[in-house]
Point group: C2
C-alpha cells in the first residue's frame, strides 16, 4: 500500500461540482489500495472575498485577525469535501491546521512550519480513513491561528508528506505537468516525465509558476518525491525528485531539461567606476536599502583601472533604481549610467550540463545563428542565463528549444 | 469596574457597516471603564449560505463536518470585529470556541457546554484587551469542533458570563427589551424594566421569542443577570434576574408581568374512556412514540366511571395525533374522539400571583365580560393559561392586558 498526499488548489475545488469530482478521485485512489491524505485550498474566489471584507474595515488589518479570517476559506473546503466522501460511503475526517496540529512560528500571514503532530493522522490511516487537511494554515505554540502566506497549501502538502513519510506528494493543478518551456511561446514544448528538485527550482524561480519555490525546497530538503498532475485529466504528470541513482551510479540525464525565461527584467549599467575595494557595496548598498531586489550581477574590469558594473532588477523597480544609480555615479565619480528596460532573461536548465562540456558555446552559437545579440551572461552549475532584447524572446526560446532537442520524444 | 459580556446576533453584525457600529459600541463600553467580552454570531445570511453548500452535497451531511463548516461563520465575524477594534486603537483579541476553550460534549450540531477555561481571557482582561468570542461553538475533549445548535450564541454569552463571574450578560437584539405582550397585538404593550428568570422562561416558552429558553435557564442556574437591549437604539432594556431581595425581604413585585400567547396549538379530546389505572399512559404513550410533543394535559372524571382526556399539541402535528388517537379510542373502548385546531393558548405570567389571591377569577371574569369562552384551563405557580378560540386571540390578549393594568407606567 502506498501512502499518498494529494493536494488540490482553489480552482480544483472552486465549486460544489468540482469538490464532488475530487471526492470521486480520492475514493478511487483509496479503492486502488492507497492510504490517502488530501490537502485543499479555499474555493477559488473565497480568499479574495474574505480579504475584501477585511479591506473594507482596515487597509492594514491586524495580522493575527487576518489569519483568523482567511483561514476560514480552507475550513469550508475540508468540511464540504469530507461530507462528499461520507456521501460516497468513505470514512473521512477533516482537520484544520490547528487540529492536525501543524505547529508554526508566530509570523502571522507568512508563518513557517516547525513541527507536525502525526498521531491522529496515523490512527486515522490505520482505521482506513481518508484524511482531509486544510492547506495554508497552522497554529503557533500559544494556540493562535497562523497562515503560511499565499500558495502555502503546497508547503502544507509537502510538510505532511514528510511527517507521514508518504511515498509521494501529488500536487494537482490546472496544468498536466512541468514542460520543457512555456507552450504559449513554443508550441512544441513537451511535458517532462521527471525533473530534479534543483532543475525545478531554477525553472520555478525563472518564471514557470507551476509550484511554489518554497514547497520545492521543502520537498528537496526532506526528500519527498513530488508529482505535478492535472486535476481534470488523467495522466502521469511530472515527477520531481533527486537524480535517479541505480546501484550508486547516476543514471543518464538529459543534458538540458528546459528553457526558462523571465520578461520582467530591466538592466542597469554604471560605466567607468574607479576600481577601488568596496565599490560593489557602495553601488548595491543603496539599491538594497531601497528594497529593490537585484537578480544578475556582472562586473567587468575596464582598460583604465576603472570598472563597469551591470545588474538586473524587476522592471517595476527600473525607474527607482535608475535614479538611485545616477546619484551614486556622482558620488563615486563614475563616468556614466545607462539602462535598458526592454530586455528579457532566457535560461537553459539541466543537471546534465555538469558532465557535458560545450553546452554554453552551443547555446551562444544557436542564438548567434539567428542574429540574436547577447547582452549579459550569467552561469551556475546547472543553468546558463543570457539577457537579450525583449523582441527576440520568442525566437530565442524556440531556437534553444530546438537546438537542445527538447521537442523530440527523449527517453527521459 | 464592571465586567460585561455583550452578545450581538446575526442581524447586528450583518454588514461591515454594522460591525463598525458594534466596534464603536464596544469601544465606548470600554472607555466607560468596563471590562468587555463580546460574543458574536455569524453575519446574517452566512449560516444559511453555508448550510446550502452542504445541502448541495448531501441531504444528511456528516454531523462532525457540518460543525466544521458552519463554525466558520462566527469565525469570520470575530476576525472582522477585532480588526475594526484595532482600527480604533483598541487592543482586541478574537477566540474561536476551540481557542477559548469552550469544552462541550460530542453531540455534534447540538452540543452542551461542560466547562470553560477562562485563563487566557482573565489575562487579556488584566491587559485591558477587549475579548471577542465566537458564539454558538465549542470543542469536544478530542479537539473536534462542535456547535451548540441555532441560537446557541446566547448560551455561549451566558456561559462565559458565568465562567468569568461577569456583572451582567447583555444580549443585544433587534428589540429594545421584553414587553408585557406582543406590541403587534396590543399597541399599549410596555417594555418591562425587570422580569424574573422564572417569568422569562414562561414568557419565552409561550412564544415571546426574544431569548433562547436554554440561555435563560443557564443564566438562572448560575445566577447571571441577563439584560436584553437593542443593538441599534440607546436604552436600558430589560433586566432578567432573580426577584430582588432587600435585607432578606422580597421586594414588592407586580402581580402580573406579562401576557404570553401561542397560536400554534391544537386540541384533542378522547371522551368516555373507561377510568382504569394506566389509561393516561395508554393514550399518551403512542403519541409520544410518534415524536409528538404534548403541551397542556387535562383529565376530567365523568359521571359514569369513565373519564374525558384532553391535551394540546403543535398544530403541525394535529392530523397525525388525531389519527393515532382514533386508533387508541378503538383499542381502549372509548366513546368518541374530538379535536379542534382553531384554538390558541393565552397565559398571564407573574411571580406576584404567588402572594395574591383571586388572580384566576379576575382573569376568567375579564374574558367572560367579553363573551370569550374558555375551552381549557391549566395553572402553575406563576402562570395561568387558558385555551380559547383562535378568533378571540387579539381581543383576549388586549382584555387581559388592560384588566391587569399592564399599560400603566407601573413602578416595576
Amino acid at each position: 500500500m502506498a501512502l499518498l498526499v494529494q493536494k488540490f488548489g482553489g480552482t480544483s475545488v472552486g465549486t460544489v461540482d468540482k469538490i464532488e469530482k475530487i471526492a470521486d478521485k480520492l475514493f478511487e485512489s483509496q479503492k486502488a489500495g492507497n492510504g490517502v491524505v488530501a490537502v485543499v485550498s479555499a474555493m477559488s474566489g473565497e480568499t479574495n472575498r474574505l480579504i475584501e471584507l477585511a479591506r473594507q474595515i482596515s487597509h492594514e488589518p491586524n495580522a493575527r485577525e487576518y489569519d483568523v479570517l482567511v483561514s476560514t476559506g480552507e475550513q469550508v473546503t475540508i468540511a464540504l469535501l469530507s461530507m462528499a466522501l461520507h456521501a460516497r460511503g468513505v470514512d473521512a475526517r477533516s482537520y484544520t491546521g490547528a487540529q492536525v496540529k501543524i505547529l508554526t512560528d508566530d509570523s502571522h500571514t507568512k508563518a513557517r512550519i516547525m513541527e507536525i503532530d502525526d498521531t491522529a493522522m496515523q490512527s486515522d490511516l490505520e482505521h482506513g480513513r481518508v484524511i482531509v487537511v486544510a492547506g495554508f494554515q497552522g497554529v503557533d505554540k500559544n494556540g493562535n491561528i497562523t497562515t503560511l502566506g499565499r500558495g502555502g497549501s503546497d508547503t502544507t502538502a509537502v510538510a505532511l508528506a514528510a511527517a507521514l513519510k508518504a511515498d509521494e506528494c501529488q500536487i494537482f493543478t490546472d496544468v498536466d505537468g512541468v514542460y520543457t518551456t512555456d507552450p504559449r511561446v513554443e508550441p512544441n514544448a513537451r511535458r517532462l516525465d521527471r525533473i530534479t528538485f534543483e532543475e525545478m527550482l531554477e525553472m520555478a524561480s525563472l518564471g514557470s509558476k507551476v509550484l511554489q519555490i518554497r514547497a520545492v525546497e521543502f520537498a528537496g530538503k526532506y526528500n519527498v518525491p513530488l508529482r505535478v498532475l492535472s486535476s481534470f485529466e488523467e495522466g502521469p504528470g511530472t515527477l520531481i525528485s533527486y537524480e535517479q541513482r541505480t546501484e550508486g551510479k547516476i543514471m543518464e540525464q538529459p543534458v538540458i531539461s528546459g528553457i526558462a525565461f523571465n520578461r520582467d527584467e530591466a538592466k542597469l549599467t554604471i560605466l567607468g567606476v574607479p576600481d577601488t575595494p568596496g565599490v560593489a557595496y557602495q553601488i548595491l548598498g543603496p539599491i538594497s536599502d531601497a528594497n529593490i531586489e537585484v537578480d544578475m550581477i556582472i562586473q567587468n574590469v575596464g582598460a583604465d583601472s576603472t570598472t563597469d558594473f551591470t545588474f538586473t532588477v524587476h522592471r517595476n523597480d527600473y525607474d527607482k533604481a535608475l535614479k538611485i544609480l545616477q546619484e551614486i555615479a556622482t558620488a563615486v565619480n563614475a563616468r556614466e549610467v545607462v539602462g535598458d528596460s526592454a530586455i528579457v532573461k532566457v535560461s537553459i536548465v539541466g543537471v546534465g550540463m555538469r558532465s557535458h562540456a560545450g553546452i554554453a558555446s552551443k547555446m551562444f552559437k544557436a542564438l548567434s545563428d539567428e542574429a540574436i545579440n547577447i547582452r549579459m551572461i550569467s552561469t551556475s552549475e546547472i543553468k546558463i542565463s543570457v539577457v537579450i532584447d525583449e523582441k527576440y524572446l520568442e525566437l530565442g526560446v524556440r531556437t534553444l528549444h530546438t537546438a537542445f532537442g527538447l521537442a523530440e520524444t527523449a527517453s527521459d
